[in-house]
């Protein structure tokens, strides 16, 4: 009999460092001359510098480095795919295993919170330009913070009740507690960024009429994909977006079903599977159409899911969902075109990717072939005053990449204003 982890939906899966264990971990760091870890962080969080600060007992300095470079330092510390970013580049891999960079980052941010540090301060003198950010997810929060730090007046519009985007609505709290997201967002608020919630741009407000000097679109991907197969409208079939959001908002009142089949192989699929298991499903299986090595989810995420007793089947794609009114069976066909699989279940969750909602309602800027915004790596669109970044541009990547792209877009916006002579 295998021993599986029993956990609660709202309890964090991994416990953090204490002063002592953080110091032990920091002491493992080789303090490399060129800190390849720092080069491995898309958002420029600079682990080489903050780990050295921890090592030399300057925890507040460490927290400052993180917060100044990455406004979502707390959230990224929990959800970053380290194994293909900073930790993959860690020189210590040549000796044994990489420094637990994410966990050290989490420790520093926990100290920031404990000591009520106020690292970021917006200048008292405001610049004479107003920017609207559409969406309150990672890209917008990063863009808004960079602008606010320079004295620009920024307003974020969000259609949901709470800010955070995918951080608040799309990840299991066992991986990312809401308090961590809220602490990050509190730093954005401290910079004077205005949040207008429950307000959908293009429906509730028209930005063109509101006198903004520039618009940033970080709307994210909130329209879930469903495969074009029979039975996806049966009761008990969810998209990942709906499933995670329901769980996150209703918490323990949400009953995910007893036998849950999750279709997909990314972090979102695993979040759905973990959510179902932690909320009481008896049997949860993940079915992925490719192999584990082709899957976008990190190996840590697979290990965690399996540690909870979640099963995995690879190289099987959904063929049909069967049932009278509600789900009874999920039928899969093999990648080899020979294998077949029929699973009796009451819930099927499709976590096979998300797509943009109708962007034409928001902007007249040019769209890309997937219906997102066409923008370059600096966040520029075909319209001079419209900028965009994050999932809506790149088709769905990590939060830390959205932070980087949001920052880049903010620098483009600043250049645009400087050219116009804004003071």
């Amino acid at each position: 009999m295998s021993k599986v982890v029993k956990a609660k939906y709202t309890t964090e899966a991994v416990c953090g460092f204490t002063h002592r264990t953080a110091m032990e971990e920091a002491a493992r760091c080789l303090l490399c001359i060129d800190a390849p870890c720092s080069k491995g962080c898309p958002a420029g969080t600079d682990p080489g510098k903050f780990i050295r600060s921890i090592r030399f007992r300057n925890v507040k300095g460490a927290a400052e480095t993180i917060r100044e470079n990455n406004i979502l330092g707390g959230s990224c510390a929990r959800i970053c795919p380290y194994d293909r970013l900073c930790e993959e580049f860690c020189s210590r891999c040549g000796i044994d295993k990489p420094i637990k960079i994410g966990k050290l980052q989490r420790y520093a941010i926990e100290q920031e919170k404990l000591h009520k540090m106020k690292t970021l301060v917006a200048p008292a003198k405001k610049k004479n330009a107003k920017v609207a950010c559409v969406g309150a997810g990672p890209a917008s929060l990063a863009c808004a913070s960079e602008l606010a730090k320079e004295g620009y007046r920024v307003t974020i519009f969000e259609k949901e009740e709470k800010p955070g985007g995918v951080l608040t609505y799309g990840i299991t709290p066992s991986r990312l507690p809401q308090s961590v997201v809220d602490h990050d967002i509190a730093q954005v608020r401290r910079l004077g960024v205005k949040f207008i919630m429950n307000t959908e741009v293009g429906k509730d407000v028209n930005l063109d009429e509101m006198g903004f000097d520039a618009v940033f679109i970080g709307a994210g991907l909130w329209s879930a994909k469903k495969p074009d197969i029979k039975g996806t409208d049966l009761k008990g079939v969810y998209t990942a977006v709906d499933f995670l959001k329901k769980a996150r908002t209703k918490k323990n009142d949400f009953k995910p079903g007893n036998v849950v089949v999750v279709v997909g192989g990314g972090d979102v699929a695993l979040d759905c599977a973990v959510t179902a298991k932690l909320l009481g499903a008896q049997d949860v299986k993940v079915v992925y159409r490719r192999t584990l090595e082709e899957s976008p989810a990190t190996m840590d995420a697979w290990h965690y899911a399996m540690s909870l007793g979640i099963g995995v089947t690879t190289n099987m794609a959904p063929g049909e969902i069967q049932g009278a009114k509600k789900v009874e069976y999920a039928v899969f066909t093999g990648r080899d075109k020979k294998s077949e699989m029929k699973i009796a279940c009451d819930t099927v969750v499709f976590a096979i990717g998300q797509k943009p909602e109708d962007m034409k309602k928001i902007t007249a800027a040019k769209l890309n072939e997937k219906g997102g915004i066409a923008a370059n790596s600096k966040g520029k669109t075909n319209m001079a005053k419209v900028f965009a970044a994050g999932d809506i541009v790149n088709g769905g990547k990590s939060a830390v990449e959205a932070v980087r792209d949001g920052k880049e877009a903010a620098y483009s916006i600043m250049k645009y204003f400087e050219k116009k002579g804004v003071k």
């Binding site: 920091a26 002491a27 080789l30 303090l31 490399c32 060129d34 090592r55 000796i95």
Partner: protein
């Protein structure tokens, strides 16, 4: 079969089953503790210092120094001599000696005047102790008539040593304080007063940490703290220096030395033995890890002896001492370059940083390949790089370069062993 060697040794005319003893401290302060340590394999005990004066101890009384999360690099304590009644302590010694006749019990004593020293020595002999140690060195006594203030004063040291030898015929060992420049001076005074052996070192006067809440040292006792004795691993190099100088002193030739300071492992103990100590004493490591550490001391030294073909301790005691020479006798024409095994290098650049910022800018750094290379012209062979490299086996001893002996100071007799030790 586990390797077991004969570790017995004669120390001041007393046969000891091994040279590993508890030093006079909290670790050997009553019957139960000492009998447990004997059961676990210690050869003897310097029983916690007994006096007529009974101290009033403070709380808390310990602190420790750490580095990079590694605790107990050094340890500070504020405890003084035994706070148990004088007669009670001697009674414990008598009971222990009767129960463990083959173990060695040294009564550590401390008086406030000649009469007290004499009487304590008499009581120790009556209690059937094997040996007597005079504590001239506790640095945290609340009275200046006792402790390290005595050990820094050769006249008092000689006078009290004389008093002890008047009070008892047992061989007397004087325990020295390191809070002095030349330990040889009070050590000679003790021998002149009749002492037969020397123990060194007692703890080093210290402040381990400052507490910023109370703005005083640590430990904080109701808002205040005091300078007091420092011991543990960090003290060992300092202790070895004092011990070596005692052993090399012409006037102290032949006086058996018991080495104390920072012993945790068999290697630490062996350091003292190869310098010439006939006995070693341990406290701090026992406070941290317990009496059981003696098992690996016994086993470790046995394996080392087995490896080297030694049958008894006397085969190697003192063999390292002649190779410790004054700095002006170090051959300056010898230079050993570092060698780099780049197949194991992980490219952290620590050797480059240290060589540039702390040595002679002799390491070149290839930023693209992330690998060091040596500029042999600039390299002085200091080996800072070997000491900072975090990966075992990357930087080692390389080519030996002989520089011209312009002063003709040294004979042209070159040693065969260039560098065997690799700092691991």
């Amino acid at each position: 079969m586990a390797v077991k060697k004969d570790l017995s040794i004669e120390y001041l005319g007393v046969k000891c089953e091994n040279p590993f003893f508890l030093s006079s401290s909290p670790v050997g302060s009553d019957y139960d503790m000492v009998s447990k340590c004997f059961e676990e394999g210690w050869g003897g005990v310097f029983y916690k210092t007994i006096g007529f004066w009974i101290p009033d101890e403070c709380s808390p009384r310990f602190d420790q120094n750490n580095k990079e999360g590694l605790p107990w690099i050094g340890f500070k304590n504020m405890e003084m001599i035994s706070d148990k009644p004088t007669e009670y302590n001697f009674e414990q010694i008598r009971k222990l000696k009767r129960k463990y006749p083959d173990k060695v019990i040294v009564a550590s004593i401390m008086g406030e005047n000649e009469k007290e020293w004499r009487d304590l020595a008499t009581l120790a002999e009556q209690a059937e102790a094997d040996l007597i140690e005079g504590n001239f060195s506790c640095p945290q006594m609340t009275t200046c008539a006792m402790g390290s203030d005595v050990g820094t004063n050769p006249e008092l040291t000689e006078k009290y040593s004389k008093a002890v030898t008047e009070g008892s015929k047992l061989p007397f060992i004087a325990k020295m304080t390191p809070n002095i420049t030349n330990m040889e001076i009070p050590a000679r005074a003790a021998i002149a007063g009749g002492a037969k052996g020397i123990s060194a070192i007692n703890t080093i006067k210290s402040i381990t940490n400052i507490d910023y809440e109370n703005m005083t040292g640590m430990p904080v006792v109701d808002g205040k703290s005091s300078i007091s004795g420092y011991s543990g691993a960090a003290a060992r190099p300092i202790a070895l220096r004092f011990v070596a100088q005692l052993l090399q002193d012409m006037e102290l030739r032949g006086v058996p030395i018991s080495g104390i300071g920072g012993i945790e492992t068999w290697r630490d103990a062996l350091d003292y033995l190869v310098l010439g100590c006939r006995n070693v004493q341990v406290t701090t490591a026992i406070m941290q890890y317990g009496y059981r550490i003696v098992e690996d001391m016994i086993s470790g030294v046995s394996h080392w002896m087995d490896e080297r073909g030694y049958d008894k301790l006397d085969d190697f005691i003192g063999i390292a001492l002649p190779n410790l020479v004054p700095a002006d006798q170090i051959r300056r024409t010898f230079k050993i370059l570092p060698s780099f095994d780049l197949s194991r290098c992980i490219g952290c650049g620590r050797c480059y940083i240290s060589c540039y910022d702390g040595a002679h800018q002799a390491i070149l750094w290839d930023e693209k390949k992330r690998r060091p290379s040596l500029d042999e012209k600039k390299c002085v062979g200091c080996h800072l790089c070997i000491n900072v490299c975090p990966v075992q086996g990357v930087i080692g001893a390389g080519e030996v370069k002989w520089l011209p002996d312009k002063l003709k100071k040294f004979e042209d007799k070159r040693n065969k062993i260039a560098m065997k030790h690799n700092y691991e």
